[in-house]
């Protein structure tokens, strides 16, 4: 039986799913689920596709995680959602305001998940998301309060982009907005900043070790020594064991710039990536430059970029795509690419971005779009 692509959509007012037919031409919108909940991220478990996790809260209520073990048909709440440990005397009182990010753990660690929160905290579950424990090595790191300062984003500090090296369960990366990229080689016991070469032009230090505003970080699944990030200050690539990021966004057209939120990698080709540029000039409108939305792609690791805008609005298209709201499926012959906008539209391409079609509109503000089956 052919597998059909499902897009899991988190919005400011609930969760939806878009289910494709076999050719990815017709899409059926299912939902809403959790109507009225803020859903920052919905992720299907690639190791066990019947399992789907959703990060949720409402305007009134505290954060939680909902779990489905039947591909989204029914949901139960995590028994112990992510929460910081109880503060001791004299410590600042940290409480999770929102679960912002979910990452399924290593392929060999079935049931393991990571969650990133606002304020910036890292949490781990070893039972499929039922119970969560703080990762003390990060949350209580002696440098945590130094690395991560300031509000980070309009909804606070955000820990996101938790990435697990497919060769090594103990090798982890994550991104913090603001804080930058951090790496652990001991399963989260200790961490260090990994930001050399990345601009942080909102800080007085021209070459700081931390404090950067990483918007989205990804590690290539087939070539895990290659990292990409879309940063508040440009698009970067890092080839490990190198330590210094290269600003590959420098090759973007000057009138478009290299500011944005998401970056999406090809499942097998480490030289291919897609971004959705936004206007980062003057007061930072964070909308498509000149009202002409486009995806840009590279096929050579960021040495050159090509505009992909067929099917997208030619003018007066002031789209914003947030960091979790762009993704690829795994149809390698004709890779599907998808993005959701803060104006409630879902756009799809079934030819690697060559052309685009709007497959859903009138949704609430889209926070995340992830591909599953």
């Amino acid at each position: 039986m052919p597998k059909h692509t499902t897009l899991w959509i988190g919005t400011r007012k609930g969760m939806f799913a878009l289910r494709a037919d076999a050719r990815r031409r017709a899409w059926k919108l299912v939902g809403p689920q959790f109507l009225g909940h803020v859903i920052h991220h919905v992720v299907q478990d690639p190791r066990e596709p019947r399992v789907v996790l959703a990060a949720a809260k409402t305007g009134h209520l505290g954060p939680t995680v909902f779990r489905s073990t039947d591909r989204g048909r029914t949901w139960t709440e995590a028994r112990q959602p992510p929460a910081f440990r109880k503060a001791t005397d004299g410590e600042s009182l940290r409480a999770v305001d929102a679960v912002f990010w979910l990452t399924a753990g290593h392929a060999s660690e079935r049931g393991t998940w990571y969650a990133g929160t606002s304020p910036a905290g890292l949490f781990r579950s070893d039972d499929g998301g039922e119970t969560w424990e703080p990762v003390a090595g990060f949350n209580d790191h002696p440098m945590h309060a130094t690395w991560i300062q300031g509000p980070g984003s309009p909804i606070g500090q955000l820990l996101h982009s938790v990435r697990v090296d497919p060769r090594d369960t103990r090798h982890l990366y994550l991104g913090v907005s603001s804080g930058g990229v951090f790496e652990s080689i001991d399963g989260g016991g200790d961490w260090r900043p990994l930001n050399a070469g990345v601009a942080a032009d909102f800080l007085p230090d021209p070459d700081p070790q931390y404090g950067h505003d990483t918007h989205c970080l990804d590690l290539h699944p087939a070539h895990p020594d290659r990292l990409y990030q879309q940063n508040h200050c440009g698009i970067y690539r890092l080839d490990r064991p190198g330590e210094r990021w290269t600003r590959i966004g420098a090759a973007m057209p000057r009138r478009v710039g290299d500011i944005g939120f998401p970056i999406v990698l090809h499942p097998t080709d480490p030289d291919r990536a897609w971004v959705f540029p936004m206007d980062g000039t003057s007061v930072w409108p964070r909308t498509s430059p000149e009202g002409k939305p486009a995806v840009y792609t590279t096929t050579d690791g960021g040495r050159a970029w090509r505009r992909l805008d067929r099917g997208l609005p030619r003018k007066q298209g002031w789209l914003t795509v947030l960091r979790q709201a762009m993704c690829a499926d795994d149809e390698l012959k004709n890779l599907g690419l998808y993005f959701g906008t803060t104006s409630g539209e879902i756009w799809a391409s079934r030819n690697e971005g060559q052309s685009w079609a709007c497959v859903a509109r009138h949704l609430p503000q889209v926070f995340s779009v992830t591909a599953g089956v």
């Binding site: 009134h60 209520l61 505290g62 959602p81 009182l93 940290r94 409480a95 999770v96």
Partner: protein
């Protein structure tokens, strides 16, 4: 309905009724708000954390009252016959 000496009525705001099977009023036991909330969480797992954070602070958009008296501390005493109100303050848009 059987009530014990420290049973209090609890009025549940609509956003929390997914935990109480839609019931707007439920019973719980305890001599303080802290104890009543703990009992509520035993009966309706997960409910407390949506109102009270991990540092035992009432969340920003939640208000608790015993009868008409605002709860300033989770150690606020409750008596039999009193009502604990779990209220969601205005928020969002």
């Amino acid at each position: 309905m059987t009530t014990t000496a420290d049973t209090v009525q609890t009025r549940v705001a609509s956003p929390l009724r997914s935990y109480t099977d839609g019931r707007p009023v439920v019973e719980a036991c305890g001599a303080t708000v802290r104890e009543v909330l703990a009992d509520l969480d035993r009966r309706y797992p997960g409910m407390r954390f949506r109102m009270i954070d991990e540092q035992d602070r009432v969340r920003t958009h939640i208000r608790l009252y015993v009868d008409t008296v605002p709860v300033e501390s989770l150690d606020h005493r409750v008596e039999r016959g009193q009502t604990l109100h779990l209220i969601c303050a205005l928020s969002g848009g």
